[in-house]
Symmetry: C2
Subunit: 578 residues, 2 copies
């Protein structure tokens, strides 16, 4: 059975010893009241909620799934009570705007809480994270009245949020959506159309559901420049903080999915539903992307949480399962066999899972720090670096999270394939992170196109320049310098060739993202190994760093070589030959 | 919905144009009656069965699963009829011994049929492949009476086979099994105990089920040298070709699994069941491994089939799905959007799936050829090379098959995660191939330990020496020479260090297997590109080869670097720190 214990020691090491976020907070007025003690208390309490409330219903939620009947969606047993505890504790408004009853906590702290909630029960937490995303969008682009009407209700979880983008023929390509919004005399709009894949679009958790819906005005320009964003509440607000009339938005069905089966994924039908525009006409995509960038980091944290959850299960199994003997003589001579940990290949799998997860946690914190500096300290370079890191965080954390889940499952042998142990559920649940909020291929294209080539690689160079190899132990420096050199040579190649070979950036985008990701992880491993003390925890960090440098960082050799190619081998095969 | 069309053109290109198996068959007495025309007819008929009978019930079989009630297992609707067609066509005895009503076809041809059946419906084919495995075991180690009693019934599918190895506490480590076999006065044995994960242990396909059960005699030595193998039929043969009394073997339950849900995975209970020993006392593991080696190639073919099935779905979806525009200007200006094929990263995914699958097919045929030469022509070097290639075939084909399935799923975006399209089922079904018949970690250990280090690398060197780089187009030679060099340098490192660092082979086993696998695929791509004609098929082969060499072969750089390390970074972390 799946068990989860929040990795508090590692989180606190990273936050307070390695990155010393408490010193940064002290220097930022909006965060100066967040003390290390407060943050530690928040982490402990979130860890308790995750481990004791959310995790115990993770497997049963997968087993039961959601049920749809005549437009009513019933979530798995126990989900509503756990949601109430999550909402009641203020967790959904943790990083929310204090002016509207949010908690105003740093994003970097929120990231670690999110990791725990994703790990403990990703289906359940999806009912919360969509709400947090909707809040960011309303807080950034809504009118004062909209903020007052919706934010306190959403931060408290009394109402929940959903983002309604995809249509059957329009996923990534939102420019071709067909949902229509017709202006009404009272200044509102009437929305008609159908959306699919709407997470938390209908459920039984909250008294109201606030849909953020992309639709086109009658006179809208073609394509992505003609999309507007609307608030479409399930129940119309009654103007005094309560709910009034039922709106013309309803769930037509829910999807049967590979994983996150406790999360309701709805087909939503809008039949002249009342909608209220957020922001300016035809600026809907820009509004949506404000929130998407935050959500993308959040989805990355889902991958991170999956890796941690998977590691905990596999490590426990490997310690306890007796099977075979060490090739260098019995290590458990009084038992019928040695533990799985005597087998080097089992250790290779566990260490891969662990080193990817722990470096991923450092990376998530580093990214969250940039977002805090951008938001609360108007740091423009941090903003640019945060924008650069966001697609990496989304794609690399979810790709490595899935890889970690699959490797952890492998440690279980046949027991990993049956449902009982839960290892296979982690794989099925983690898989979605690579797909939603923009597939990882979209992230890779965003990175190399908008974030790297558009400024001639300046932000990426600035990021690398900020990593002072002289600050980490000498043993890591040569490999780090070489890895940074690989990024620079790959960047130089793509910059030099992409005018003559315009498909090259797309053709190598994923490898480029991976090259940067594996190299960043090496940097964080060097930092962690250098900063950790001389206790068992610190020695463990150095053992893991040694593994990462010897066995995983070399992947960058092949990635650099693959990038330093042309697009011909990708684009050459005629369409009809596929 | 999942659709499958057997890749006849590619199979026939490989068999009859590249490898020219018809020339080899002509020179082997036992195979000399197998003409190219006959083989082509067999391929066409198998393709029809796979595409028209087996594939259409693949998704419905997953949806329905198997049902257990009071020891009776009901397979999904349509499975029994399809099984009857598979059995009635003689497909289960295709490579069987003609002396007992097998078809005596070459293994290399059987491999291609197996690929089709696995691809079309892996749950359904599992009821057949276990039978084929049981036949190999009985044919190799059974008495004349056992062969006459069981083989014709099994080849015809009237009876089916199962292999009962695993126990709750004993998976890979069969030395610690507890199932007991007590000699009986009539020369038979009474078997008591419990086994788990018994594929096809109970079902409603065949009138009898022939279990091959590993058990210990009362006076057996400890460990793997004290295991014997027994035939335990569900119904005892009546001596005249029919079935008699019900034996004391029954299904206690079936497992709920991640995938292959149409295949019944049983807990089997033996209550003084009548068993008949195969082979000599305490030689059971050796008998079982005769069959396991064949089964391991078969499981590899499951991975290959998954890759082909996944490719077909994803390529069709990518051709038809209109989404976004080419970055170099619209390619479908009259439509609402271009097809997914204009996006380089989508092509990267499809080409990865395709190049891994098509090279895997060549590799499977090459391996099957070694087994044919060993079995029918007493070729000792082919036997050694076949033994060397078997663990690579099992692990590399299933690892790449799973990777291919995941990438193909990614091409579908959100539609890949819902059950409707079937892309997620391929992933779930393919996952088991990496686990059963010896996990892929076990295969990697078998390769580097028994197959490479034991003879000082001689067989591996012989394999590489057999690849004459001068016979392929010049453009591929430098990269091939370099890749062969990486294997040789990795081999030299492990040979030189493994005495002083005895955990090194285990620590790098998986990377070593992957290094050999990726390099073999490059060799086969160079061969295919060289041998293919100047038509569209041949040009496609050369485009794919270019992709493989530019984008996938470079993975060998990192693998070599990872292997040329020490085991310290894997073994250093203390057990309690996991």
């Amino acid at each position: 059975m799946l068990q989860y214990q929040a990795p508090e020691r590692d989180i606190e090491f990273l936050l307070f010893e390695l990155f010393r976020v408490q010193d940064r907070w002290a220097g930022i007025p909006a965060l100066s009241e967040v003390s290390e003690d407060l943050a530690r208390a928040v982490i402990t309490e979130a860890g308790r909620l995750a481990g004791e409330v959310m995790a115990p219903i993770n497997q049963s939620g997968d087993e039961a799934g959601c049920q749809w009947q005549d437009g009513v969606v019933t979530t798995p047993p126990g989900f509503k009570a756990a949601y109430d505890e999550m909402a009641g504790g203020g967790w959904l408004g943790l990083s929310g705007n204090p002016a509207y009853e949010g908690q105003g906590m740093p994003k970097v702290l929120g990231c670690m809480i999110e990791e725990m909630f994703w790990a403990a029960n990703s289906s359940l937490y999806l009912y919360g994270t969509l709400t947090a995303g909707a809040c960011i969008c309303i807080d950034s682009h809504g009118s004062e009245e909209q903020k007052q009407t919706y934010l306190p209700k959403l931060y408290s979880g009394q109402w929940s949020g959903a983002m309604d983008l995809t249509e059957p023929h329009a996923g990534t390509d939102l420019g071709i959506i067909r949902t229509r919004a017709v202006p009404h005399a009272d200044g509102s709009y009437r929305i008609s159309g159908t959306k699919i894949f709407i997470t938390s679009g209908e459920h039984d958790m909250a008294e109201n559901i606030v849909h953020l819906v992309l639709a086109k005005l009658p006179d809208a320009p073609e394509g992505s420049k003609g999309i507007s964003l609307f608030i479409v509440p399930k129940y119309l607000p009654d103007g005094s903080g309560g709910i009034g009339e039922r709106n013309g938005v309803a769930s037509g069905s829910i999807e049967h999915k590979m994983g996150i089966r406790g999360s309701a994924t709805n087909v939503m039908n809008y039949d002249e539903a009342v909608g209220f525009m957020i922001g300016e006409p035809n600026q809907g995509l820009a509004c949506m992307f404000t929130m998407m960038n935050y959500e993308r980091l959040s989805v990355g944290l889902q991958g991170l949480g999956a890796g941690e959850l998977a590691y905990q299960q596999a490590a426990r199994y490997a310690r306890e399962r007796l099977q075979g003997r060490s090739s260098t003589g019995p290590k458990n001579p009084d038992g019928p066999a040695d533990s799985l940990l005597v087998h080097p290949d089992v250790r290779r799998m566990l260490l891969t899972v662990r080193t990817l997860t722990e470096a991923g946690r450092a990376f998530a914190i580093f990214t969250g720090m940039q977002l805090d500096l951008a938001k609360h300290a108007d740091d423009e370079e941090a903003d640019r670096i945060g924008q650069l890191l966001t697609p990496i965080a989304k794609a690399f954390l979810t790709d490595r999270g899935f890889e970690a889940a699959v490797l952890a499952q492998q440690v279980f042998g046949g027991h990993g394939f049956i449902r009982e142990w839960g290892a296979e559920q982690i794989v099925r649940d983690a898989r979605i992170g690579q797909i939603y909020e923009g597939t990882n291929g979209i992230q890779a294209g965003d990175l190399i196109g908008r974030k790297v080539l558009r400024d001639g690689g300046a932000t990426l160079e600035a990021l690398l320049d900020g990593f002072d190899v002289g600050t980490v132990d000498a043993e890591y420096r040569p490999a780090l310098e070489a890895a940074f050199g690989r990024i620079r040579s790959a960047l130089a190649h793509v910059l030099a060739e992409s005018n003559a070979d315009p498909e090259l950036p797309g053709a190598v985008a994923t490898d480029f993202l991976d090259l940067v990701g594996y190299t960043l992880y090496a940097w964080f491993w060097a930092q962690m190994a250098t900063a950790a003390g001389d206790d068992a925890f610190g020695r463990g960090k150095r053992e893991c760093a040694a593994f990462y440098f010897a066995r995983l960082l070399p992947k960058t050799l092949g990635l650099e070589a693959g990038i330093c190619s042309t697009s011909a081998c990708v684009m050459g095969l005629p369409d009809e030959a596929f």
